[in-house]
Subunit: 258 residues, 2 copies
């Protein structure tokens, strides 16, 4: 991997490339552009702040772009800043001494990133795809949280959701077969991108390599490949490119999740 990977500072005056369509809905130029996006979505950590709080927060936030593979935070290292994922996917992982690795969570936009109120990271965070982060220094956010219970409440809601997801995944790791694990992973990705319907056709790009998928599911890369091939042979999934996936019938996939 390129040693110079990641950490491209973005010019705050020229963010058009990283803002999603919702940006067009916002016209109040007093509110910093970085947070317009989260407010527009009513998601992310900025949604519960008023204008002056947003302004205060904006003074300390910084938009940064990282390319896929960049390590964003390391397990057992000091927490220096928190962030909101604005674009892309971040994988959270833990490793054993001998190198065995387990991915313990995936963060999609507009998820919050960072272990609140702790001096050390509990996990390693790595950019799975190219990502844009809205970073804020640890003390600045913690001050804001102390003054704004609604912000802590919002972060509490995300933490509870992450706990639900972690426990759901524990069932997959502990009790499902390799085939069911792959089906569950595909179903999770498909529904995460569009939480609405649970049946019908879905087309998407996998945000992870086969190796990442293996680390997420507690399998080897060979088993991931074999089980994917098996699901393809059964027409549960159509693999149109190495990362391009088509699910003809989400209901049929769900039946394979165990």
């Amino acid at each position: 991997m390129d040693i110079r990977a990641g950490i491209t500072e973005l010019d705050p005056g020229n963010l058009s490339g990283i803002m999603d369509a919702s940006r067009k809905d916002i016209h109040n130029s007093d509110i910093p552009v970085l947070c317009q996006s989260c407010e527009a979505r009513h998601k992310g950590m900025c949604g519960v702040l008023n204008s002056s709080e947003l302004l205060a927060l904006a003074r300390s936030t910084r938009m940064v772009r990282h390319e896929a593979g960049t390590e964003l935070a390391a397990e057992a290292m000091p927490v220096e800043s928190y962030a909101n994922v604005m674009r892309g996917v971040v994988k959270l992982s833990k490793v054993l001494e001998d190198g065995r690795q387990q991915i313990v969570g995936l963060q999609f936009a507009p998820d919050f990133l960072g272990r609140l109120f702790s001096k050390e990271n509990a996990v390693t965070a790595e950019a799975a795809s190219d990502v844009d982060l809205c970073r804020v220094p640890k003390p600045a956010l913690e001050r804001l949280i102390a003054e704004n219970p609604a912000l802590e409440h919002r972060l509490m809601q995300q933490t509870l959701r992450e706990l639900d997801e972690a426990r759901e995944w524990m069932v997959t790791l502990g009790r499902k077969t390799a085939s069911e694990k792959i089906a569950s992973f595909l179903y999770m990705i498909a529904t995460h991108l569009d939480p609405a319907a649970t049946v019908g056709r879905r087309v998407f790009d996998l945000p992870l390599t086969r190796s990442d998928i293996a680390d997420f599911l507690g399998l080897t890369i060979e088993t991931v490949s074999r089980q994917l091939s098996k699901l393809r042979a059964e027409r549960i999934v159509v693999i149109t490119g190495i990362r391009h996936i088509e699910i003809p019938d989400l209901g049929a996939l769900k039946k394979r999740c165990g």
Copy 2:
């Protein structure tokens, strides 16, 4: 299992049997006995409340005793009340349609119990041992949380810790061998009972049956039994009774955790 299991109401005037030694430190009889205990420990959900708040909370709390095996809350059923575990161990589990089961968490005293801010339970909660719970109706606690940010902060801290534990366990489920899983389980129990030292001798009772341990580790009961026998043969553990465990050297056990 006895159908009438559990739900023994306790006479609030006669709680001596379930209060721990710390109760003796408390003499203000205006504060309900139920919450004296949590306040004395500076743990549990009552620790951040002032006297009048404690009094308000006490009007709606109820101490209940349940015997081992009692289902305290069912997955996908409405959340009716929250609780604090005052004594004993509660197991949180999820089941697949075909009956495969996974334990996704253990709650020890004085942990908080219940999925905050959700209409439905995400997991099934069952008393692993005889337990005493300090129950509070959902609306009462949520009102108190809304008025008292410090209480939400305390619950946030527990939620974050539970998330850390869940992710730690995901590594065990996904990447460790059966033998390492058993060692990790024993180590977790041993250190949970006495969080201080990480080396030396430990003696304790297992709060779970072999079947529960299997469901916690994603193994079968036979594999649990075999691996325990193997660790016993290697003198890593001494099994003095079906539930009574002695760890001669916690450091040696830790080496087996992977």
